[in-house]
């Protein structure tokens, strides 16, 4: 078939110049080779693929790394006491980073972990990613398993008091980065991971998060403000009994962003919340949130809350699914995706899905697109607030429900300020 041929040609062209990282322990080599084989069999995403209907993957596939102007960006989370880990053009930078030491936490470079013959990562690398290919192809995640050389490996054994902050920096206009983070939260342990900064002109990050019973993992991410960024990210999470997973992403700008979060609730009474706010200005802004939550245990709760503010021809995409397996009784699933279109040129494309095989569940989903509320705008103006400021307030109000998903009030405030200052500069 012509289409299949085109797809496999494109895949071959993209992979031809690449080779999987050399060295590493046998298990790591095996995982990478297995990934490469799977990727060759599956093929890279093609714009005719159903899962890529709203987002053209072409930018992720060019052989040459796209050039992107380097934008100055604040490091982010400056007001939080963190363990800072810096990656420059996708490579760990020891000098700019804090010492990799923290009570209740084992932390090391991915590049180091994969050279060790005995390591817990052996049992996890590619495992959640492979499981996440069930029902939907995620070739860019396999790409990450095959080609990622660096990243962070974190194992929380207790309540880790300081968040780990991964800061991405960029020095080259054509920096390409493929990063892999591995996270294991042990029974009763707690960890907060923050991410911020400009990753690369083309960034592919993958994260596998395995949360044991009673564990808690919090993830707050600010995607860099560099406009010419292309980023494809995947977070795979597996939740044990009574465990918690919470992830929030703030995206300001970015011409091509695809954030996929794939969650499986494996233990009873687990809770998973994934949320995000994206603000886009301009015809070349494209932001895609793709979420897949599988309920595979009893009495679990999941929430998806996504808000997008779009103007001047910006495009926002949401693909969200809740899958409830036959035994996942007492499931409580919620999904909402909303867009605020500040003018008539902006686009919001949403595909909310529920697939339920259990009979005692509570699932709801909604998706809306709307303009700014003129009555509220007049109310604010009648109190002396100028139109642009009044509009900013209403934008902040619109994304408030998503920001409320962040448990830590200090972190939520940091993101709120980022948002407010972005709005002010964008007037």
């Amino acid at each position: 078939m012509a289409l299949a041929q085109a797809k496999s040609d494109a895949t071959e062209a993209r992979l031809s110049g690449l080779s999987i990282p050399e060295g590493g322990a046998a298990w790591a080599r095996e995982a990478r080779h297995d990934a490469l084989n799977r990727l060759q069999g599956m093929g890279l995403p093609y714009r005719r693929d159903e899962y890529w209907r709203f987002t053209n993957p072409a930018e992720f596939l060019t052989q040459e790394t796209p050039r992107a102007e380097i934008a100055l960006d604040a490091p982010g989370f400056e007001e939080t006491d963190v363990l800072r880990v810096v990656f420059i053009d996708g490579v760990f930078d020891a000098e700019a980073s804090d010492a990799l030491e923290q009570d209740g936490l084992e932390i090391e470079r991915f590049a180091d972990a994969v050279t060790k013959d005995i390591h817990w990562v052996k049992g996890l690398l590619g495992v959640l990613e492979t499981a996440g290919q069930n029902r939907v192809d995620r070739p860019l995640a396999i790409f990450n398993t095959a080609f990622a050389e660096d990243g962070l490996v974190l194992r929380a054994t207790g309540k880790v008091s300081k968040p780990v902050h991964v800061e991405y920096r960029r020095s080259e206009e054509t920096a390409e980065a493929v990063l892999r983070h591995m996270v294991r939260v042990e029974d009763g342990a707690e960890l907060t991971l923050l991410e911020s900064g400009v990753g690369a002109s083309r960034l592919n990050t993958g994260m596998e998060v395995d949360i044991a019973d009673n564990g808690a993992f919090h993830h707050v991410r600010m995607q860099g403000r560099d406009h010419e960024r292309r980023a494809a990210t995947h977070v795979f999470a597996r939740l044990g009994q009574e465990s918690t997973f919470k992830s929030f992403t703030l995206s300001l700008n970015g011409m091509m962003t695809r954030n996929e979060v794939i969650i499986t609730l494996k233990g009873d009474d687990a809770v998973a919340h994934v949320a995000g706010a994206a603000l886009g200005d301009g015809r070349d802004f494209h932001h895609d949130d793709t979420v897949f939550v599988t309920h595979d245990a009893v009495n679990c709760e999941s929430r998806q809350v996504f808000k997008k503010v779009l103007r001047n021809g910006a495009t926002g995409v949401f693909q969200g699914k809740i899958l409830v397996e036959p035994d996942a009784q007492k499931t409580d699933g919620y999904q909402i995706s909303q867009s605020l279109l500040l003018d008539e040129d902006a686009n919001f494309l949403a595909k909310p899905e529920l697939e339920i095989y259990a009979d005692d569940v509570q699932c709801s989903h909604g998706s809306t697109s709307g303009a700014i509320d003129e009555t509220a705008l007049f109310y604010l103006k009648s109190r002396g607030i100028p139109e642009d400021k009044a509009q900013d307030l209403l934008v902040l109000a619109f994304v408030a429900e998503a920001l409320a998903e962040i448990e830590d009030e200090g972190l939520a405030e940091t993101l709120r300020e980022q948002l407010a200052s972005w709005l002010e500069r964008r007037r």
Binding site: F378, Y379, L380, K381, S382, R383, G384, E387, L393, E401
Partner: protein, 251 residues
């Protein structure tokens, strides 16, 4: 203070004349009441004065201390000292009441070339005014008007008025949806703000609000015009005989 001359207004969307020549002069420190049946144009007058979209002024003028109001954006009118207490205060989820108040306060100060108040300074100002209106701190923390009772919403309007210190206050059916106690609280708030330099235009359907806020002048509005003006006794007359008789009498 407020001078309205032969104001004629139609709806922007359809060719429907709402105000057919309104003349009104509210002096400094005075309280004027406008009463009238539904559809007489009372609320339209308040919206046109505060600058809401959707209306077209076809003739006439409205000035505040000689400054042409009709030429300005709503926020400029506010900075000039005009305030409209809404009949239906708008709920704004996600915006804290305190943030809203401070943003408005500082925006007006900035527009007038005055220094903005810091968070701490402002908190002090608000706390004092809120206490008088029996508005507790919890209400200040909540999003603007969200989950407020009818009485709380109207008290919140008066709080905004107290904080922003306008010179011309328009109260649009402030009594609607209030029970007796809430009406007293709101009226006390308004009365406390009465001063030589501040005028009020109280738009109401019923006379009962005027028992609490005693007007200097009462106007009866019908069919887009002020058909009769008089002292407080005019309100009592309306209460007793209704609008119909008065309208017949004028015709």
């Amino acid at each position: 203070m407020l001078t309205i001359k032969d104001l004629k207004v139609k709806l922007e969307e359809e060719d429907k004349q709402i105000l057919k020549g309104v003349d009104l002069e509210v002096g400094a420190g005075q309280v004027h009441a406008i009463m009238g049946p539904n559809g007489s144009g009372k609320s339209t007058l308040s919206y046109v004065l505060s600058g809401r979209d959707g209306y077209e002024v076809t003739e006439g003028s409205a000035t505040l201390d000689g400054v042409d109001l009709l030429d300005m954006d709503p926020e400029e009118r506010a900075a000039e000292g005009l305030f409209l207490a809404f009949q239906y205060p708008v709920e704004i989820p996600g915006v804290g009441n305190m943030t809203f108040l401070r943003t408005a306060y500082n925006a007006q100060r900035k527009a007038r070339g005055e220094d903005e108040a810091s968070a701490a300074e402002f908190l002090k100002i608000v706390r004092e005014k809120a206490k008088d209106l029996k508005i507790d701190a919890e209400m200040l923390k909540r999003p603007v008007n969200v989950g407020f009772s009818g009485g709380e919403k109207k008290r919140n309007e008066i709080l905004q008025m107290a904080v922003l210190e306008p010179k011309m206050c328009i109260l649009d059916e402030t009594d609607s949806g209030l029970d007796v106690d809430a009406m007293k609280l709101v009226s006390d708030g308004v009365n406390a703000l009465r001063s030589e330099g501040r005028s009020f235009l109280v738009i109401t359907h019923y006379q009962r609000l005027l028992d609490h806020i005693t007007p200097d002048v009462v106007h009866i509005m019908a069919n887009g015009r002020i058909i009769k003006s008089g002292g407080p006794e005019l309100a009592l007359e309306v209460e007793k005989n209704g609008y119909a008789e008065l309208m017949d009498e004028v015709q």
